[in-house]
Symmetry: C2
Subunit: 749 residues, 2 copies
């Protein structure tokens, strides 16, 4: 038993070792000429300045949240102050994951540009190595943190007390471990929202004045906002995405563990097997992500997308196969969760469902956002009648793109439930997230290549360098879109798993929509993604306007700036983005954290027949369903607008005329792309963390709000024989509640 | 008793009498000069041509739906083939309401223009008379139809059988009556969606070529699409809105009646009082709407908005006061619905909650869409940096605008429930809808005035006429926005009432979100408003493009058209809008009708622990919550963009510079307005009917899908004394289900 338990953090340590070795390799690569180093240093400094400013603010948040958690931990019967420690470690690991990713990305960008001087293969090798460091770093920290904290709490709360593995002491151990996830996810929220605001304020601002007003190309060194724009790629797409997936990864594993405790099982590990299974699958995912990464290589003129797909499929398929054997070995033949019987085969089926849902989501997302496909073409065509019809077309595509993913997701919920009950829903999410290291490597290599292109442009490297980084960047755009589909699918399943875990911890048996307060909760919950999105995109709008004004001022006041003799004040633009991001991330973050507290504690005992966890359950369902839809709508509309604009770069035929960059329809498409920027990179992806974080906050407070209106466990159970009612159906006047294990509590009056 | 019953259709007849007299008065007003009559005839002919084409298609739909209903009626145990008759009458009355409204609107428009030659007071009198005819016509047809069919079915199914008023025979009577509502609402859906597509295809098409390309003003007779544009105001804003409110009005009353049957009551009317109360309140609403209408008058230079508000408040307050007395007189001291005890005072409180929710929704909607207020100003300011930031600002305003209305709605649900249980939620909606006649008069006068302005422009009447109609039109824009807030609030409450009625008829006791198939239903349901909106707005986009191409062709091919010597082919543009509207309304309409059938019948018996009505309940909750949000988001964003554009007509200060029509920021604001057009007039308002119609379809099929997994009623009820368990809580092994009336069915094993 111990061997398996200790194997888990060992997987994490191995991943971190890989991170360290690979990171050293990247650092050793040549960093290019003087000018490239200078620009790269500007970007790295800007990125670190942002992280520093952000983490300073988050430190205050961690202190306040810790005090609140300590209060809960001391006062709650089914909780413990150690949750504060878990929370702080989770927050720290999440921040560390962001730091590792950002650091390697700001090293790999310039080295990719330099490698691009010699070949595409080398450029891919360096940029993908950067991505791998990020991916393995995130997965390693998650598995190491979860695994070692679990061992600690398991010994502390369960083994040392001689308690039952499936009992209330284990519930406390897992509840304390939830603090780790809360820490991870709350840092992730701020990183995602702050990073999203940062990157789009810089991007939109740089484009509006640079491309539109001054008529200079993207990444032109004369544009004062260009460094901020390149910093933004790292801050938003690398650190933000990394924190997001770190949070999902941890939350998914944790939710499955919490449900695993409730699984009724007679295994050779004293009931521990369903609890440790998700961590073991995650560990396997790390190993097979490593193997998959070895296959990501390409020769000059080769197909980069195919190389990435090959690596990805190898890691997914091997993980699935290995999961089968681990499940069969670990789990006994018969399992039961909340009256639902299932088998190891069912659990494996659920893992497969998760993998298939993840794959389908990526494919569907790609269809709706890829160049040359019908949705993007419809936007291109409708750009011919102006800005307004371009916008209408993009909004329609975004809304339309929700249909298939929702059907896939709904089918996934039902099938994984049919396969293994609620444990199945959770393990489906865990299966999907198992190869997070690989997914993240694929996601993170894109912005590194994008940055490399920027550096090549700003350093005026030979044209073929930019061409090579452009190939990588184009693939990166596709992987960014499919990565978003994957991220939202995983967030949705994770939230459902957390939802199920919440129901268990809060001790409620139904979340009945038929009750007015639950329905009211559903409405309020569904509204939150709208206000969250509104705040995020208007924050980008405001910050971009400050950026525009600053750039206009520099163009006006700095002599010789347009001739390239005057030096733009890059750091002022970096500061604007940083301050705006820090300032504007507060309110949306606060909403996500505080609303569950208000509902959970505020409605405790208010309604005679509806407990506050039930209302909170309605709220969570509302947030999840509307958050998933708004995420897809916004991310896909944004992606489609982006590629509609890109279509004009190659030339597109509209009503028999081929239109290029600079034509009126192209200008309309630029409007769509600009609208889509905050949609796809700020508000859309923030939805993922919003729904997860609200579920985790609810899970953390569940022991403190639950059970208040539940009937006491009856003290004198009445045997069947005594009332001689067997094999009949009878009516008793009174009320009844079915308990989890199939017994009936009857109160007579 | 009979007296009260027969009073109800009498209220309806009185309203129709008023309609007839007032309509004759409008017809008698002078219709202006030759040129005005010609233009008015063009508009009236176009409108009637659309209605004719639309009704022809709908006739086929009515036949098919009737066959399906007849099948259900013959095969179902708790239903009857007479539902087909009720359905056809409902469809016919809805179509008739649209016809009456359209006919009077196309007469009142030119007469308002003519009246505008003499004074503002007269112009208001004529246009408001037109609106009153529409309002009273809709209310009268609804109350007459519901009242007389109820009397018929009550005698046929209950009295003639000597059956219990609260029993299953009354359930069948009301179930058959639901056919009337289904007929009304399905015609309403097509009228709203078809009308919405028509009006915006014409509007967007006319603007894109006329204002933007050719540089001629709105309503210029040289623009071939201008007649279609003016027809569209009648088709969309008059007939569409009328059908929408007709449907809401009927559905609300009906849902309250269905719940009323379940109310346990000992009254002097044999239990009939909670069933007929909503119809009586509607009757009172007609009387006090009539009185309120007498107060809508204004002197030259007077405040038109104040006059409308005065009339509205008088009718609302008087209806509320009268309701109090009717409730106290009709209902006994003690009532109970599904274990919830309440009193007549509680019922009256619920009516007040409904009125307050309706009022607050209107006020909040006005704030978010009115000129000079912060939200619209934010769009104006962000127009200075171009099209994209204008769009971002408008989308943010639309999303932001959902917060307060949802909080008001959630509070309204909880408070009306606390006051009188589910009957309270339903009667709150009924109270809100009581003064529909007045609301609709206020709503319909706007497009009449708008049309009058168009006719004045096209007939080149003196400037002061257009100025007077512009005053009315501006007020009409505000009432249109507040009317939308009112319409969505009423649709939301109506849907909840229908939802509660559905639960009763289907015989389910919970809609438990914790079950995977229910959650999947919630996701699918919440996605439907997205696909519906996508279809509606892309239909407008496509139809507008055809319109643009046709207008461009006419400008190119008809000699002398721009000099005013060549005559544009108005009828070709009318035909394009008509065909597009008819063609494009099919798919969204089919989705709304068919999805509940698929879920209700398709998942019957599929899941062992989750019945298909429960899944359908999850679906309906999803549709309602996401439909309400999407309605508010889209309608308010559209309204705010519209008024942001209008702000430039007076001149607005941006960064210290006053910008007018024709400036760059103004052009950006025109883009926002064009995007907002289908949002606020096609997809946004369609959400109302979508959520209501899906609920009604579910209610109609409820007796055919429900009860299949319910345990049989136990035959040997066990008395309390026999097992001697009183005053204790005991545990029995087995399963239990609580029945509606508080008994417990226990099956032991």
């Amino acid at each position: 038993m111990e061997t398996i338990l200790y194997a888990i953090p060992a997987f994490g340590l191995a991943a971190l070792l890989y991170t360290w070795i690979r990171s050293a390799w990247v650092t050793k690569q040549p960093a290019g000429n003087e000018r490239m180093s200078t620009i790269a240093r500007h970007i790295a400094d800007g990125a670190m300045a942002f992280l520093k400013a952000e983490y300073k603010v988050l430190a205050y948040f961690v202190i306040i949240a810790s005090l609140f958690l300590a209060y809960l931990g001391y006062t709650g019967e089914r909780s413990h102050p150690l949750i504060v420690g878990a929370f702080i470690i989770g927050a720290f690991f999440s921040a560390l994951a962001g730091f590792i990713g950002m650091r390697i990305a700001t090293k790999a960008n310039v080295r990719t540009a330099e490698a691009g001087r010699s070949s595409l293969a080398k450029a891919l090798k360096v940029s993908f190595a950067g991505g791998s460091v990020m991916g393995m770093g995130v997965a390693g920290l998650a598995v190491l943190g979860l695994g070692s904290l679990f061992i600690l709490f398991y010994y502390l709360f369960v083994v040392s007390q001689g308690a039952d593995v499936n009992g209330v002491q284990m519930e406390i151990a897992l509840e304390v471990l939830t603090g780790f996830s809360l820490g991870a996810e709350s840092i992730a929220l701020f990183a995602r929202v702050g990073g999203g605001i940062y990157t789009k304020a810089a991007d939109v601002g740089a484009d509006l004045v640079g491309k539109v007003e001054a008529g200079i190309p993207e990444d032109d060194p004369r544009n004062p906002a260009t460094i901020a724009d390149n910093v933004g790629d790292n801050v938003g797409d690398v650190a933000g995405m990394g924190a997001d997936l770190f949070g999902s990864y941890v939350a998914t594993i944790l939710a499955t563990m919490v449900l695993g405790r409730e699984v009724v099982v007679l295994d050779q590990f004293g009931g521990l097997s369903p609890i440790i299974l998700p961590m073991l699958i995650a560990g396997l995912g790390i190993v097979f992500s490593f193997i998959g990464m070895l296959f990501v290589r390409v020769s000059e003129g080769g197909d980069v997308q195919a190389a990435l797909n090959r690596g990805n499929w190898i890691s997914v398929v091997l993980t699935a196969i290995a999961s089968y054997f681990v499940i069969q070995w670990l789990l006994p033949e018969s399992l039961n969760l909340r009256n639902f019987d299932f088998t190891p085969n069912g659990v494996f089926m659920a893992v497969l469902v998760g993998l298939i849902v993840g794959g389908l989501m990526s494919i569907i997302t790609e269809y709706y956002t890829a160049m040359g496909k019908k949705p993007v073409n419809s936007i291109v065509q409708q750009s011919s009648t102006g800005h307004a019809t371009n916008i209408i077309a993009g909004l329609a595509v975004g809304m339309h793109s929700t249909v298939l993913p929702i059907i896939v997701l709904a089918a996934g919920i039902v099938l994984s439930y049919a396969a293994a009950g609620l444990y199945g829903v959770a393990i489906a999410a865990a299966g999907m997230m198992a190869t997070t290291a690989m997914q993240l490597a694929i996601d993170a290599f894109g912005p590194i290549a994008d940055n490399a292109g920027g550096i090549a442009e700003m350093s005026e490297l030979p044209k073929e360098v930019r061409e090579r980084t452009d190939i990588l960047d184009a693939v990166g755009n596709t992987t960014a879109a499919t990565g978003k589909g994957f991220a939202i699918a995983s967030a949705a399943l994770t939230s459902l798993a957390l939802f199920a875990a919440f129901v268990g911890i809060a001790g409620i048996r139904t979340i009945d929509l038929y009750k007015a307060p639950v329905l009211a909760g559903l409405f309020i919950g569904a509204m939150i993604p709208f206000i969250f999105s509104a705040l995020a995109i208007s924050a980008v709008g405001r910050a971009a306007m400050s950026m525009v004004q600053e750039v206009r001022r520099q163009f006006r006041e700095i002599p010789g700036i347009m001739e390239g003799t005057g030096k733009p004040e890059y750091e002022k633009c970096v500061a604007i983005s940083t301050q705006a991001a820090i300032r504007e991330m507060m309110l949306p973050g606060a909403i996500a954290l505080i609303v569950p507290l208000i509902v959970g504690f505020g409605f405790k005992g208010v309604f005679p027949d509806t407990s506050s966890p039930e209302i909170l359950g309605g709220l969570l369902a509302g947030v999840t369903v509307s958050g998933v839809l708004m995420a897809m709508f916004q991310s896909n509309a944004g992606g489609a607008w982006d590629n509609a604009k890109k279509s004009f770069e190659k030339g597109v035929e509209i009503n028999g005329v081929v239109e290029y960059k600079g034509s009126e329809p192209h200008k309309a498409s630029v409007t769509g792309d600009t609208v889509g920027d905050p949609f796809k990179d700020t508000s859309g992806p923030s939805m993922n963390i919003l729904i997860k974080l609200m579920s985790i906050v609810s899970l953390v407070i569940a022991p403190h709000i639950g059970f208040e209106q539940e009937p006491a466990i009856p003290e004198a159970p009445l045997e069947l024989e005594e009332i001689n009612l067997n094999e009949q159906k009878k009516t008793l006047p009174g009320t009844a509640k079915a308990t989890v294990n199939g017994e009936v509590t009857v109160s007579l009056h």
